[in-house]
Symmetry: C2
Subunit: 168 residues, 2 copies
DNA sequence: GCCCAACGACTGCTTGAGCAAATATAACCG
DNA sequence: CGGTTATATTTGCTCAAGCAGTCGTTGGGC
């Protein structure tokens, strides 16, 4: 069957998607043990790595895969669960911060080691250092090309822009 | 800021996720031009690459990222849009096939060239052959480890099992 | 100072997906 | 053959997410 679907380009994408799906499933399973969904984990992680463990709602939306209304609702749920709080932005009354609570930090601390272990076990630990470096190098180059404004990445640039509303 | 989030394992996953998100977005944009969602494209592709351009609902669910009820509803929509039809399985009246219609095949033929062009442009064409081979090799090894039953891959084995209900 | 455009967060509505239950059929066992 | 169990699909319910519209706030032009 010499059809189009054996095209190496299709195969390449299939591979990427399978790896993504496989890892996502492993992550979701481990996160669920700690009562977090993937989205909630992403949100709390973005906040925890930001100065003051907080971010304005809009900036949080920009750093995650969510729309602003999506962020409103995730933060609603996580606030109800005691992982986050909202805090007013002192110099712009339109804005508000989402802040990680102590309970939220504790939850994250409980969750992270297992998360790292899973990455190690199923991803980075599967390859010898040279092969891993080659893989990451390839991914980096594709990422730089396809870069949709660093949708899910290390947006240090944007983070630097974001603290013009710093309450400190 | 020497925090946990600079861990190379986190970075590696972030890279993979960014590439996935970036490519998915490009794909979705192109598919939308042809009136298909990503899920619909996956469904019609899986069917079109199967013998007779058809698959039982359950097998279709197994080959996609959907549950069986999810498949029921996508097929509902695509049947309403004239891209697919249901056909009874002659020797098992519980089963039914989803079959690609002529219109569906036409739609797919219109869509595929652009899809391949996008893969080429943003993914495979970004790397020289050796780097691409290294990337794919790494992905393949991770895939083989994390393999959740070949969720989105070349499930030739399962396809071979599936035609015990062949109407031909 | 006043007006208007831009902005930030939130809410109503719609959509797509999964789980669990319902239904119909098949297979097996005695 | 009759009954139980397993399988294939569909349907009711719930939930998460996006879009578009709303409301309050801000800032710039005059």
């Amino acid at each position: 069957m010499t059809n189009v679907f054996d095209d190496p380009r299709i195969t390449a994408v299939g591979l990427l998607y399978e790896v993504h799906a496989g890892l996502s499933a492993r992550f979701a399973a481990q996160l669920e043990e700690h009562g977090l969904s993937s989205v909630e984990f992403e949100v709390i992680t973005r906040l925890a790595r930001s100065p003051g463990n907080q971010l304005r709602m809009t900036d949080l939306a920009a750093q995650t895969s969510l729309s602003t209304s999506g962020v409103t609702r995730v933060v609603d749920r996580m606030e109800r669960d005691g992982l986050l709080t909202r805090r007013a932005c002192p110099n712009d009354r339109r804005s508000s911060y989402a802040v990680v609570t102590a309970a939220g930090m504790r939850r994250l601390d409980e969750t992270l080691p297992g998360h790292l272990r899973i990455i190690e076990q199923w991803f980075t630990g599967q390859l010898d250092p040279a092969a891993l470096a080659a893989l990451l190098d390839g991914l980096r180059r594709v990422r730089d090309a396809v870069h949709p404004g660093a949708t899910a990445g290390s947006t240090d640039q944007e983070a630097a822009d974001a603290d013009d509303c710093d309450p400190a």
